[in-house]
Subunit: 205 residues, 4 copies
DNA sequence: TATGAATGAGTGTTCATTCAT
DNA sequence: AATGAATGAACACTCATTCAT
C-alpha cells in the first residue's frame, strides 16, 4: 500500500507518469463525489489513462482509497509532531502550534482533509484498523497537551475531552467552508482559531 | 414529499404501512453506508417490502433522500425556532437555548443528524437549492443571536463568524462520536457545550 | 374478446365510461409508440382511470391489442364487403369500389389502419390465427375481383398477385403519409388511387 | 457509428469479433420482434457475448438501432445513386434502374429493409433528424426522375407524387411478403415491378 | 508500462399483473 | 365499477475487475 506497482518494489517517491496521475485524479474525484459516488472509470478518464493501467498501480479501488487516506493521515500526523517538537514547553504555545498546524493543513490540503474525514468510513475494516493507530496517535497529541496544560494550571477546562473535541471539530470544519481567495490570509485564520482554542480550554495567564 | 404516494404532502410522522417502513429503513442504511453505498434493494429488504413497493411510495432513490433530508432539516429548524421564542431576550440565555437544542438534536436524532450533514452533497441540485433556504434560515438564527450579543456588550468575540462556525461545528460533531449509554446524561452534555460556546463568544457578565 | 367486461356479459355496444376510454386511449398510444413501446400505465393515465380499472375490462395488455385489431380488421372487411355488394358486376367498377373503400378507410381511420398493419406481428399466435381468417377473406376479395377482371378481358396484367400486392400496398401506405387538412379532398384522393389501380391491372375499355 | 468502440467510423462491413456479432444479432432480432420487443439480453445471447461486452461496443440500445438504420439507409441510397449514374438519360430506363435496385434491395437485404422501414419511428429525435437528410435524398431521386419523365413526355401521370408513393410502397412491401426460395427469381421479380411502375407513371413509347 | 476486450454481479427503475376492498 | 397497495420478473445500463497481449 505504498508507492510501487502492485507486485513490484521501487523508488519510494515516484515521479511523474502513471501512479501520480492516478492518485491525483482519485484525490479530486473522491473529494468531489465520495468513494461510492466515484467509479474507477471516472478516475482513469481524469488521469488520462486506460482502465487497466489503473490496475497496474493499484490492485483495487479500495487500495487506492487506503493509499490516499494513509498518505494524508501520515502527513498530517508528521506535521503535528514536528510542530510540537519545534515548540517550547509552554502549554499555550504548544496548543497554538497544534491549532496552527491543523488550520494550515485544512486550508492548504483542503481536498485531502475532506477525504480523510469523510471517506474514513468507507475503508474496509482491515485498512481502517491499520490506520487507526495513526489516528489515535494524533488524538493523543491533543489529549496529552491539554492534560498537561490543565495539570500545570495554564488551562482550566473542567472537561478536557469535550474541549479537545470542540477544538478539533472547529479546525476540521474549516476544510468544509473555506474557499481559496476568500480574503482571509492563512496566518490570520490560524491566529483566530488559536484564540478560539485558548478560550475553549479557558487559558489564563 | 411526505405521506402520499409519489406526490402530495401530509403529516410528517405517519404510522403504519409501507411508507414508514421505507423511510425508516432508508434512514438507518443511508446513515450506515451513505447514499451511494446503499442500494435500493438493501432498503427494501430492511423495510420488509418488495423492491417495487418502494417505487410505489417514492419515485426514485434521490427522492427518498430528499424527503429524508427535508424532514430532518425542517424539524431541526423548527426546534431551534421554538427554543428561541421560548427564551428571554438575554443573549447568553438565547445562545444557551440554541446550543442546548442543537446538542439535544445531535444526540436524540443522531442518525438523522449525520444524514443531513453527510448526504447533503448527494442531493441533486434541484433538491439542494430547494432546501438551501431552510439551511440558511438556521444559520441566520446563530448569526443574529451572536451579532446581538456583541452589540449589547454581552459577547466580546472579534470574529463572530468564526465563533459561530466553531460552535456549530463542535455541536454537530457530537453526532459523530456520541454513543448512547456512554455515561453522560444529555442535560449534562448540553451544559458542557453551552459553557464551551459561551467561552468561544467570550461571554462576560 | 369483444365488448363485455372480462367475466361478465352485457350490452354489446357499451356506451361511455370505462371500456371506451380505455380502448380510445390504447388506440392512440399504440399507434404513437407501438405495442411494446406502450405501457399499460400510459394507457390508464391517458384514459383517466386507475391501473386496476383497466384490468376490469381487459384481462391483459395482449387482449387489449387483440380486441383493437379485431374491431379494425372486422370493420374494414365489412366495409369492403358492403361496397362490393353495392357495386355492379363490371370489373373496373368493382375494383374502383374496393380501392375507394380502402383509401377512405386509410384516411378516415388512419390511426387504426396503422395499428392493424404494424402491430399485427405483436399478436400472440393464438390471436393471430383467429384473426387470420378475416385477413385472408379480405385478401380474397381482391384476388377474386382481379381474377374475374382478367378472365373477362377487362384487365390485362400478366401477374395478378403482384398487381394486387402493389395496389394494396399503395393504398395502405396512405395511412402513413396522409395528414388531415393537407389540401386534397378524400374523393379526389380516392379517384387518383383508383386510376393508379386501373393502370396497374392494365385496364382497357 | 461503425467499427470502433463507442465512437469512430470505419469500414461498414468488418469481419470477425465482437462488434459484428452484435450488429448481426441485433439485425436479426430487431427485425423479428421490433426494437421495443427486443431486449439487450436477447441480442447479447444471440451474439454469444456477455451483456457487458455489448456495451463495450455500443453505448446504448438506441445507438445500436441508429447504427443499424444508418448503415442500411446509407447503403440503399448509394446503390440507387450508382444505378442511376450507370443508367442512360432515358426516363423509362432510369425508372427501371431505380425500381430494379429497390426490388433487389428489398429481397437481398430483406431483414434490413424491414428494420429501416418499421423501426424508423423508434429512433430518438436526434438520430432521426440526422438520418432524415439521407432519406430525403433518396426520395428526391424518385421525384426528379419522374418529373423529368413527365417533362419530356415519356410519362403521363397527372399526379407524380401519388405515382411515386405508389411505386415506392409497392416495392417496399416486397420485403414483407417475399420468402426466399419461393419460386420467383430476383430478375423476374424486378422485371414485373418495373412493368408495374411504368404502368403507374403511364409510360408510352 | 500499458492497453483492448471481455465478464458476472449488481445498479436504479419499469413492467404487466394481482388482490383485498 | 373501480381503487390502492403490492409483487416478481424483467429492463437498460454500470460496476469493479481480469487477462491475453
Amino acid at each position: 500500500m505504498s508507492s510501487a506497482p502492485v507486485e513490484g518494489s521501487g523508488s519510494a517517491v515516484p515521479r511523474g507518469g502513471g501512479r501520480d496521475a492516478i492518485t491525483g485524479a482519485a484525490r479530486t474525484i473522491f473529494a468531489e463525489r465520495g468513494y461510492h459516488g466515484t467509479s474507477i472509470r471516472d478516475i482513469a478518464k481524469r488521469a488520462g489513462l486506460s482502465l487497466s493501467a489503473l490496475y497496474y498501480w493499484h490492485p483495487s479501488k479500495q487500495h487506492l482509497l487506503a493509499a490516499l487516506v494513509e498518505e494524508i493521515t501520515h502527513d498530517y500526523f508528521q506535521r503535528c509532531d514536528r510542530a510540537l517538537r519545534e515548540a517550547t514547553d509552554e502549554p499555550a504555545e504548544r496548543l497554538a502550534a497544534l491549532v496552527r498546524t491543523t488550520v494550515e493543513y485544512r486550508v492548504s490540503r483542503r481536498v485531502e482533509s475532506n477525504i480523510a474525514t469523510l471517506e474514513w468510513r468507507n475503508l474496509e475494516p482491515e485498512n481502517r484498523e491499520r490506520l487507526d493507530g495513526l489516528r489515535r496517535a494524533a488524538t493523543r497529541l491533543w489529549v496529552d497537551l491539554i492534560a498537561d496544560g490543565v495539570a500545570r494550571g495554564a488551562f482550566h477546562c473542567a472537561h478536557p475531552d469535550d474541549a479537545r473535541r470542540a477544538i478539533v471539530a472547529a479546525c476540521n470544519a474549516i476544510a468544509q467552508w473555506y474557499e481559496p481567495g476568500g480574503g482571509i490570509t492563512l496566518p490570520e485564520l490560524a491566529e483566530r482559531y488559536t484564540a478560539i482554542a485558548l478560550r475553549i480550554v479557558d487559558h489564563r495567564v
